[in-house]
């Protein structure tokens, strides 16, 4: 570790992994509820489990992004973090607020939670992924502002690199677009329209900048390839991501009551969204092939390459699968969406955070890379989680196509629940793959504690 203050990232990473476990546990519960509807009812109904599963994902990714920023920025800026203390305080505020929110979801009926948190003063609750009580949302804004202040001061008073500037742009965008979660118009069309300003412009807009810059940073570190080469790619990737992603928001506006030109704009632009992901894959493999050194942290290199490939498959290919308006007319909101959601989030954002953790964690623990046994276990966990996620996606895709056909395309369309019963086999298979994923995650965590022979490396 070059700068002592980079160490605050460790807290964030540990919390991220802890919440990740929670997310997957609730995923497994929900997966079972698909086929055993009354499992854990009435303690944890499906809608609550779903809310916890998706909210935990977002929260732990935010922890991951913040941790990554705290680790990366001092080193890139060549100075200590502006205020490590502020970073620590914000960590605890965010963790406590997050934990209280999740407990609120689990212990109190949602309507009562809304009352308790005085939602009627500024109603923002009750919308998918933005279910957080208004006070939690305000808390998120405060934490985000403090975080941006902290890293902004570090970046602006230190060495400015393309990576830190792209990362900062992404993080500022993340905070700005979250503000739309406070806008809750009565008109349901407008409500949905601006809801996507948070949801879409995060994952298909500014988060891509965060992802690209984190990936670029790790690739510079593990390959020793010239910064100029990597920065050039970064520029082009983010330009394409923004051109396709911003207007690509239109692919959510097909059927919500917006003008029909969105079917054209949404189809054309979102069809191009795979391109920046494809470029990221080319970029990652190119850079690793041109590497100037063999970094002892093989696990981190694998995670970085895995991110590029899986993001392209999950976000790019599986997104394209149902993005064109004529296709989406049939597949909208079916399990095809769930398939895409799973692989895209895992491939793009889960994996990029795990890449950062894989690279940074050993350094924060005073090593250049984890010991040989630990790396071996981590690599096994990479394959377990990644392959099981591929299977989750494939099973859900099949379920989605069967669902689309039976419910919407066949000559005698059947009702939702009748169709769901016929998908049970695929849901069971998905649940099995989900359990393997959970085991992979446990193995991943265990790898941090595994003892073994220290890796050898030659310092240049």
């Amino acid at each position: 570790m070059k700068y002592e203050s980079q160490g605050v990232a460790k807290l964030y990473f540990i919390a991220a992994i802890g919440l990740f476990v929670g997310q997957i546990l609730f995923g497994a519960i929900m997966g079972l509820q698909y086929v055993m509807g009354d499992f854990l009812f009435p303690e944890i109904p499906f809608n609550v489990a779903r809310m916890v599963h998706t909210n935990l994902l977002i929260v732990w990714l935010l922890f991951g992004f913040m941790g990554s920023a705290y680790f990366l920025i001092p080193e890139e800026s060549e100075r200590e973090l502006y205020s490590p203390l502020l970073a620590k305080i914000m960590f605890w505020i965010f963790l406590v607020a997050g934990a209280l929110t999740i407990l609120g979801y689990l212990l109190v009926p949602y309507a009562q939670l809304a009352d308790l948190t005085m939602n009627d003063l500024l109603p923002t609750m009750g919308r998918e992924f933005l279910e957080q009580p208004t006070i939690t949302k305000i808390g998120i804004v405060i934490v985000a502002l403090a975080f941006l202040f902290n890293i902004g001061m570090t970046i602006l008073t230190g060495r400015k690199t393309v990576i830190t500037l792209v990362l900062l742009t992404g993080l500022v965008g993340l905070a700005v677009f979250f503000l739309f979660s406070f806008y809750n118009p009565d008109n349901i069309v407008l409500d949905k329209y601006f809801w996507w300003f948070v949801v879409h412009l995060w994952v298909e807009g500014v988060w891509e900048l965060i992802m690209a810059s984190l990936l670029a940073y790790v690739l510079i570190k593990v390959t020793g390839v010239d910064r100029e080469v990597i920065e050039k790619w970064l520029y082009i990737i983010i330009a394409m991501a923004l051109i396709s992603g911003l207007i690509g928001t239109g692919h959510h506006f097909y059927w919500i009551g917006t003008p029909d030109y969105w079917q054209w704009l949404g189809s054309v632009f979102s069809a191009l969204e795979p391109i920046p992901f494809f470029m990221m894959t080319l970029f990652a493999f190119n850079v690793v092939n041109k590497r100037r050194r063999d970094h002892p942290n093989k696990a981190a290199v694998l995670w970085a390459l895995g991110t590029a490939v899986m993001a392209f498959l999950g976000a790019g290919v599986w997104g394209f699968l149902h993005t064109l308006a004529p296709v989406n007319y049939y597949t909208h909101g079916t399990q095809v969406t769930a398939a895409h959601g799973h692989m895209a989030f895992y491939g793009a954002y889960v994996m990029v955070v795990l890449t950062m953790i894989s690279y940074a964690m050993p350094i924060m623990r005073g090593q250049k890379a984890a010991n040989e046994t630990a790396q071996k276990l981590e690599i096994h966990s990479f394959w377990l989680m990644t392959i099981s996620m591929v299977f989750i996606t494939l099973f859900l895709t099949v379920a989605g196509f069967v669902q689309t056909y039976l419910q919407r395309y066949s000559d005698e369309p059947q009702s939702f629940m009748v169709v769901q019963e016929q998908l049970a086999t695929w849901y069971w298979l998905r649940e099995a793959a989900g359990v393997v994923f959970l085991l992979g995650l446990f193995l991943y965590i265990y790898s941090f504690f595994a003892k073994g022979k220290e890796v050898e490396f030659v310092e240049e």
């Binding site: 396709s244 029909d260 054209w264």
Partner: protein, 193 residues
Amino acid sequence: MSVQLSETEPKLLPGDLAIWFFIFMELLVFGIFFIVYAVMRSQNIELFNEYQLTLNRELGMANTLLLISSSYFVVRAVHAIRGDDVNRCVYWLYAGLAGGTGFLILKAVEYSDKFSAGIGLGTNTFYMFYLSLTMFHFLHVVLGMLILLAVVIKAKRGAYSADNHTGVETGASYWHMVDLVWIILFPLVYIIR
């Protein structure tokens, strides 16, 4: 010997390879848009023909000339830097930028005319394509000008010379793409019936 030969061979592409990836993708985007336009036109020929007549062809023609001249000026800038003449290079780039600015002004006049007539994306399919295609191109002109401006700034700092002017070629390549797209877009949307 053969190694020496390959070193003196002219480069396949002027400018940085990365910009060519970008240009390729941009052309792909516009290409898809043009095909979609053609398909939709073939299904609504009367509508497209009727509303095409409401477009201002004179301004469109003036804009075409502006962009073509501007591309020429940028070519002169590349030639100037190849002759190691930084000042001349900067002047030609300014001329190119002036062409771009003129384009933006005329386009703004055209849009304000249409908007004040109450025309928007939702008016009909023809206007939807007219507005989204030209506005998307408009944004590319802006981006192209920003790139040229960055080249100007770097040139003034003395970053380019006869031996090292990839950056100028890179900016010029992108600018030609912006020009090329307009040369297809203008007849397609304004003229062909």
